[in-house]
């Protein structure tokens, strides 16, 4: 527990508004021992996942609520981008791109809430996303054309 970061308690409201870089501070929420660390980055990542799954589960063919309308519009937006940029045979990877778009969309939308945390403003998350797709694309390319 030597280098574990602790929650520094409730801050003054004035110092929160006058220090604009304090919102990117990663502080510990729960830590047990040295292996289990749960900071606000992992908390907001789990919140983003819950929001994304709940949003995708609202899909209904009958267009009964407004979430279906929003989800259908996002689907058509990503579909138009994919159709403009990919061949017909490569459009089977539409699901990956739709998931990537929805992840960044939900992360940035949650980050706009006051007293929230922007997941994509930490470098480890963006590096993880880019390395994940880089390794995946290279593995698919090597197995198809290698």
């Amino acid at each position: 527990m030597t280098n574990a970061m602790h929650l520094t308690g409730a801050k003054n409201l004035l110092t929160i508004f006058s220090a604009p870089l304090d919102q990117f501070e990663v502080m510990s929420v729960y830590s047990a021992g040295e292996t289990i660390l749960f900071n606000n980055l992992s908390l907001v990542l789990m919140l983003n996942l819950v929001i994304m799954v709940a949003f995708l589960n609202m899909y209904n063919l009958n267009l009964t609520n407004n979430y279906d309308f929003v989800l259908r519009n996002i689907y058509q937006l990503v579909q138009s981008v994919v159709r403009a940029n990919l061949y017909i045979r490569k459009q089977q990877y539409f699901a990956v791109l739709f998931y990537l778009f929805l992840t960044l969309f939900v992360a940035n939308l949650v980050g706009l809430l006051p007293y929230s945390f922007t997941v994509t403003s930490s470098f480890i998350v963006t590096l993880f996303i880019s390395l994940l797709h880089f390794i995946g694309v290279n593995m698919i390319g090597a197995s198809r054309h290698g």
Binding site: P20, Q23, T118, T120, S121, F123, L127, S130
Partner: protein
């Protein structure tokens, strides 16, 4: 020709790092700017 292969490999690998740094920097600057403008009001 081997020099060309080296240049292509370096640019192919550096694209991953540069695009992730770009997303990170844009998000950080945008949210810092929003916080500063909120502080003015």
């Amino acid at each position: 020709m081997p020099f060309l292969i080296f240049i292509e490999a370096v640019s192919y690998i550096a694209r991953v790092l540069s695009l992730s740094i770009r997303l990170f920097a844009n998000m950080m600057s945008g949210h810092a700017l929003l916080k500063i403008l909120i502080g003015f009001s």
